[in-house]
Amino acid sequence: MRRAFLVIGALVVLLILGVLIGISLGTVKLSAHELASAILMRGDPVAHTLVWDLRMPRVVAALLVGSCLGVAGCLLQSSTRNPLGDPQLFGLGGGAAVMQALAMGGLLVIGNWTLFTLSVLASLVGAAAIAFFASRRGLSPARLALIGVSISVLAAAAATGILAESRVFGQQSLNFIGGSFANLAWRNVLPILPFLGIGLLLAFLAAGNLNVLVLGDPVATNLGAEPKRTRAIAIASSGVLGGAAVAVAGLVGFVGLLVPHLARSLVGHDMRAIFIVSIPLGAAVTLYADQAARLIFMPSEVPVGLVTALLGAPLMIYVARRVL
């Protein structure tokens, strides 16, 4: 565990650096002095708006969404004993995506908080399906992954269909690789906090037993660990976190897949260490991916999902070859 704390320390430094990048770089150039004044809310009001209403919400959103996804991935992978576990891949964000599409098409006119709550509840439907299948004896990891992919593809199709019906932008091919942190106001970001809190609370309840789950259900039961209950709590937590993440940023894929593997290579195989490191690691990966998406081809932007896919897809192929 000591190594975990070292890694967390390093990540905190990276995060601070990332936040600075996020608020200082952009199409509008600010000098160091202007930046400092803007942070302190002094000087040019346009600079304040730039820093506090434009760049900061985006940075904070990336951090919070990243933590949600990293933890969700960690919980899914360990509780289903499946190295491909990822909230988007397993369809846990699917229900939320459908809600988002309904809202974007104007078919659901509701306030932000209601939208968030509905998104999380809808995601829990996908979570329930995965929990059901994961508890069945003799279901290979490959099959579970396929079930999850089917759920997520179904949800993406539904969401795409809803958007196509409402003709949101004339002639475009509606590809849902999306996910974006662009144009987020504080009111779009802050509602994630209570869900992050609930999700983390549930996660901590399950996290103590994650190591034991690896031994298989019969032995885990024999140790008194109630694997079915732990698994249910872990997957429910992933559903809450995954749903809240989609409600903010849409389908940002592969972060949940990537983070636990990265954490494992940094701190070893103790699930508790991996879990605790996933929180800042998910935040860091997503923050840097979003900054890359935003800045590399400035003033154009690449969808953040593209960057995470570039990082995560090769890993997915590697893991699938090795393990499945």
């Binding site: 509008v28 708006t49 730039l50 434009l54 003709r167 932008f169 004339g170 003033p299 932007e301 969808p303």
Partner: protein, 316 residues
């Protein structure tokens, strides 16, 4: 295995680059053989294809608002059109052959057409799909004022009513000139549209709505921006860019029909955009998406007049 993977990856990236380089289309100028009213005639359409029309077409099917409106503007009529064509009002009662993105060749053939008018930029793939019908297919385009004029001429030639075509062109040009004459002062207008991912794009002068604005001498803060994002003529516009631009008036286009929210309302909540002086002062106007985006063609004159009216109505 690793080598194979790297080779495959490089090939993939290379093909992406090639596709990107080839996607610029050459400029085609259509021609029609000046005729003495007799058929057959040979015309060149906007895809550069030579098409032979053996006799005066009486059962014409159109697959795009540009085609529909150009045809009707020179006095022709159709026996079927796509679902997106809504002008002139007569066409709403016509049998439909699909939406502008998914045309049904079966529905077209059921109408036994003797001519099919399509759009060249988005429906070029229809040419091969319609070949089995053995019916002449002519592609039109309305990417510029010249295009529209040439399109009117072309269709006029095809249905043997050159006078109507000439008249239509003259009308159109007169109205545009009149509008330009009524322009007051140097105003700047930012035209915005949003996509499914909450990204907001600004129409550059090269786009259809941008060219309408250019015709009445409105300045465009998006001029000179690189073509970013998937839609040619539109540039991705971030909150930061909005924060530092100060157009006199903001036009918004919301292609999705109600109940989808209007972009003009969404802008009030979007950071950066809601700080523009024009937005704060309420100088945000919704444009009709059909007129200004989806039905490019002879109604450009209507669009010009409408935009001028809106510009003049707002108090600065």
């Amino acid at each position: 295995m690793k080598k194979a993977f790297t080779a495959l990856l490089s090939l993939f990236v290379l093909s992406l680059l090639i596709v990107a380089a080839c996607s610029s289309s050459p400029t085609i100028v259509p021609t029609a053989t000046p005729s003495d009213g007799g058929y057959p005639i040979i015309v060149t359409d906007f895809l550069g294809r030579s098409v032979q029309i053996t006799e005066k077409p009486v059962r014409i099917v159109t697959t795009h608002p540009t085609a529909t409106e150009t045809l009707y503007r020179v006095g022709g009529t159709a026996v079927g059109c796509d679902a997106s064509s809504v002008y002139p009002p007569d066409v709403q009662a016509l049998p439909k052959v699909g939406s502008a993105y998914t045309i049904s060749t079966e529905a077209i053939s059921a109408l036994s057409p003797d001519l099919i008018l399509i759009e060249s930029l988005t429906q070029a793939n229809l040419v091969s799909a319609l070949e089995p019908l053995g019916v002449p297919v002519v592609a039109l385009r309305a990417a510029s004022l010249d295009d529209i004029a040439n399109g009117l001429t072309l269709v006029g030639e095809i249905i043997d009513d050159n006078d109507a075509a000439t008249q239509a062109i003259v009308d159109m040009q007169d109205r545009i000139e009149a509008a330009r004459g009524n322009c007051t002062g140097n105003k700047t207008a930012l035209i915005l549209i949003s996509d499914a991912q909450r990204n907001i794009y600004a129409a550059k002068p090269e786009s259809y709505p941008g060219s309408v604005a250019a015709l009445i001498n409105l300045g465009n803060p998006a001029a000179g921006l690189p073509d970013t994002g998937p839609y040619p003529g539109f540039a991705l516009f971030t909150g930061e860019q909005a924060l530092t631009s100060n157009p006199d008036i903001v036009f918004t286009i919301s292609p999705a029909p109600p109940p989808a929210p209007r972009l003009s309302a969404v802008l009030l909540q979007t950071p950066g955009f809601n700080q523009m002086p024009a937005v704060k002062a309420g100088r945000v106007v919704e444009l009709d998406p059909m007129l200004f985006l989806q039905a490019e063609g002879p109604r450009i004159a209507d669009a010009v007049e409408e935009m001028l009216r809106l510009v003049n109505e707002v108090s600065y």
